[in-house]
């Protein structure tokens, strides 16, 4: 149980901006205390550097009244203004593909309900049978088929009600090839109910707005071409019907999801202009009932991508009320800040906020690039304890902490890009507009809290630095980097957009010096959208170490239409940028590096000053060694520059370390750290023609060794040597053999 949590309305801010903090008290306390701090180290485990933070004097510090704030997860389409439903009859229709019948609850496909409770809805009942729901203000009735639909199959669902003869009819017709396997199911029933006469008002697709309980009955699955008609169909009019838009009745609405796929907009094509909008980011750019592999790019044939996949645990924005507005002082130093929230009952949360220097300025020659897109990708991840493969992959018993236990109970806080939705489909979007409870200090050593080891070392070493972020780099491009001599990427900068990669490449081309402090970086491609600030989208495809794979034909982003997946699959393998790329992972133990011949090249003498020729590099550290967790190595065929020097290499990794799938064209029994020479981390250096250089560590565990022996060790020595030289304006000499 976490007693308090919060989020800022943005990841990053600059002096002069006014970020807003939203807080929810979960332990019943009436008040909370807020205190701004600058984070230095978040590792509070036994025999660790300890939690380190600097208190910030601010007018926002103090005690404030608070309350629990509600979160409403689940995606749907909101149609604010549907025409009145009058007369004696109504017909609803849609193409549907249910994906979670097992949740055993009524699910609404289309609904219109008035505050008087009168309403009408096309539904799937708790057993998976398609049907009709009616409420005349006094009584309600369900008319459903006798046979359940099947998860993952497409159906035409049509329901008519004719109050003049008290007849309700439902057709559940398998389509999209499933007519070969299933038969039509029809239900024809007498109903004693008045026609629910409904004034103009809001309607929902994929949920129902209950007058008392709010948004309920979320549909999990795909819906295509929902439509609403005035009048009823007779039984003989069902025959030959294959599409909701083919119904020959006066239309009240008909929504074509193949329009505006790249946005949240929903087009009513019936002529009634009852347009709508997606709420909570259901998945668009997904195949509809007629897709048979004709194209894999939704932009080429949007008509084949006229479906939307809705999930009950989609979430874009908690939409909490603001509790604190911080006017970021003009003189504040750049850094990783946090609002420390506490209650009298002992609850505590740290809500990070990355403060950049003023726009157009730099306040240090070195910038630390906080991997905000990667933090977002892992936000509130459940996969560790929901994926049965986690324990064999980790090679150790799973350890759940209080955050895991809390998230397990609070699915409403959304899922990560590593999770499957409750219906088993993969999660494509992750939003920053919610508490991200695993992006915290005092948490396990991964991503954000691992990157604080780097910040801790910079502080201990007295190296001046600015903090910049993926999200601002995406917005501002190479201009954000232009004032820096040295850029330091963190322990796991895994997710990047086209613009962030372009920016780093451009800056390196102009003589920048890049230190890559981690492993499995620059690996997955993500997209953003100007109308969904704080959200990233990923489309996991055939390759890559991944927790799920998008269905066929769905590898192009909704947000920008580009082909997604691995950067390697997009012709931009990380080896081209940083010399190394992901080759293997394992989480049970870590190793050390031994020096390779490249480390004795005079070009890199500066890196090994103070390091013995036979020294084991990183045979120590919080994780047991500097080479571990996720490992990168060189590969000239993927773009490692010919003049790159392999300085050191790890060996001796365990059976749990396995070569990543994209390195295995075919399965074979020699994939682990005992048998496969690909399982290694490599320390790499190379110069660039404009006088710049790149240094890569190839291991996520590297930074966890920096603090060993009071920050006096060969890992810290090597990085210190690299930083000093990279900050020296003297250009690197372009090597002869390059």
């Amino acid at each position: 149980m976490l007693g308090i949590m919060g989020y800022w309305d943005r990841f990053s801010a600059r002096p002069g901006e006014a970020p807003e903090l939203k807080v929810s008290i979960e332990d019943g306390s009436p008040n909370f205390r807020v205190e701004l701090v600058r984070l230095i180290c978040g590792d509070d485990g036994p025999d660790r550097p300890g939690f380190k933070a600097e208190s910030i004097t601010s007018e926002v510090n103090g005690v404030r009244r608070g309350r629990q704030q509600a979160t409403h997860a689940g995606s749907y389409v909101h149609i604010p203004s549907l025409r009145a439903i009058r007369g004696e009859a109504v017909t609803l229709a849609a193409l549907v593909m249910p994906t979670w019948i097992g949740k055993r609850a009524n699910q609404c496909i289309f609904s219109r309900q008035h505050r008087s409770s009168k309403g009408v809805a096309l539904i799937m009942d708790a057993s998976g049978c398609g049907g009709l729901w009616l409420h005349d203000g006094n009584n309600q009735v369900f008319v459903t088929c006798s046979t359940a639909m099947r998860e993952g199959s497409w159906y035409l669902l049509v329901a008519s009600f004719n109050a003049s003869n008290g007849t309700a009819r439902v057709l559940q017709r398998p389509i999209g090839g499933h007519h070969r396997l299933e038969r039509d199911v029809k239900e024809d029933r007498s109903v004693e109910l008045q026609m629910p006469s409904l004034p103009a008002g809001a309607a929902l697709i994929a949920a129902r707005h209950d007058p008392v309980d709010g948004i309920v009955d979320h549909f999990d699955g795909r819906i295509e071409a929902p439509a609403l008609y005035s009048g009823a169909l007779e039984t003989d009019q069902f025959s030959g019907l294959v599409h909701p838009f083919d119904i020959d009745l006066p239309a009240l609405g008909g929504w074509n999801f193949s329009r505006h796929i790249g946005s949240a907009d929903i087009a009513d094509v019936s002529g009634n202009d009852s347009h709508g909008r997606c709420i909570n980011l259901p998945t668009r750019a997904v195949t509809g009932h007629a897709w048979r592999g004709q194209t894999v790019d939704w932009r080429a044939r949007p008509d084949l991508y006229g479906a939307i996949h809705f999930h009950c645990d989609d979430l874009e924005d908690c939409s909490w009320n603001t509790d604190v507005v911080w006017q970021v002082p003009s003189a504040i130093r750049s850094g990783i800040y946090a609002a420390r929230l506490t209650t009298d009952q002992g609850a505590e949360d740290f809500v990070p906020l990355f403060i950049l220097p003023p726009k157009g300025n730099t306040t240090a020659p070195l910038a630390f690039l906080a991997s905000t897109f990667t933090y977002l990708a892992y936000a509130n991840s459940h996969h560790g304890y929901e994926d049965p493969l986690s324990e064999p992959a980790y090679g150790a018993l799973l350890v759940l902490d209080r955050t895991d236990l809390f998230l397990k109970e609070r699915r409403d806080l959304g899922v990560s890009l590593y999770d499957r939705h409750r219906d088993g489909s993969g999660s494509c979007y992750s939003s920053a507009k919610r508490p991200i409870l695993n992006m915290r200090p005092k948490h396990r050593i991964w991503n954000f809290n691992a990157d604080l080891h780097v910040i801790d070392w910079l502080e201990e070493s007295g190296i001046e630095y600015d903090v910049i972020t993926d999200d601002v780099l995406h917005e501002e491009g190479a201009g954000l980097l232009s004032g820096y001599r040295c850029l330091m990427a963190g322990t796991h900068p895994e997710y990047h957009t086209t613009r962030t990669l372009d920016a780093v490449e451009e800056w390196l081309g102009n003589g920048g010096r890049l230190i890559y402090m981690g492993g499995n970086g620059f690996y997955w491609k993500v997209a953003t959208h100007e109308n969904h600030l704080g959200v990233i989208e990923v489309r996991r495809g055939e390759a890559g170490t991944r927790c799920f794979e998008m269905p066929p034909g769905e590898r192009h982003h909704q947000f920008d239409g580009e082909f997604g997946g691995l950067w390697r699959s997009n012709g931009r393998a990380p080896q081209q940028l940083v010399g190394v790329g992901f080759v293997a992972e394992g989480f049970d133990s870590c190793q050390w590096y031994h020096r390779e011949s490249g480390s004795f090249d005079p070009r890199v003498a500066f890196i090994f000053e103070g390091v013995g020729k036979d020294d084991r590099i990183g045979a120590f550290g919080i994780l047991g060694g500097a080479a571990g967790l996720e490992l990168d190595a060189t590969d000239p065929t993927l773009g490692t520059p010919a003049h790159a020097l392999v300085l050191a290499r790890s060996a001796g990794h365990s059976n749990v370390y396995l070569v990543t799938v994209e390195e295995m064209m075919s399965t074979h029994p020699s994939a682990d750290g005992l048998d496969n020479p690909l399982v290694r981390a490599e320390l790499v250096f190379f110069e660039t023609p404009a006088g710049g250089a790149v240094f890569s560590t190839g291991s996520i565990a590297w930074a966890a060794s920096l603090c060993h022996n009071g920050y006096s060790n060969n890992v810290a020595q090597i990085i210190g040597n690299v930083v000093r030289r990279f900050l020296d304006p003297a250009p690197f000499e372009w090597p002869d053999k390059a």
Partner: protein, 100 residues
Amino acid sequence: MDKLCQDVAQLAQEFRMQPHGRHSAELQRVLNRMRSEPFSGRYVLIQEHRNLPYRLARLGPTPTDPIGYTGDTFLTLEEAEWAVFKLRWCKLFGTDLPGE
């Protein structure tokens, strides 16, 4: 399954000495099977705060079901791994680990 283990005592000793890291191929085969037990009832550790002991627990039938605590606690990961190794051995082979 009994053919998997040529020398039970040796494998157990190897695991106890080093539950994480490089293992013999034979021990790794046993561990792969142990760690691939069904989701329902799988052993996990709970450590709510980083300075608290590890509590042994089992996952419910589905991710939405609550976790059930066994009542066992451990001061170190190594102790917990060894305890679960013995429990899983019994389940896998139908007998207690010899000598335990």
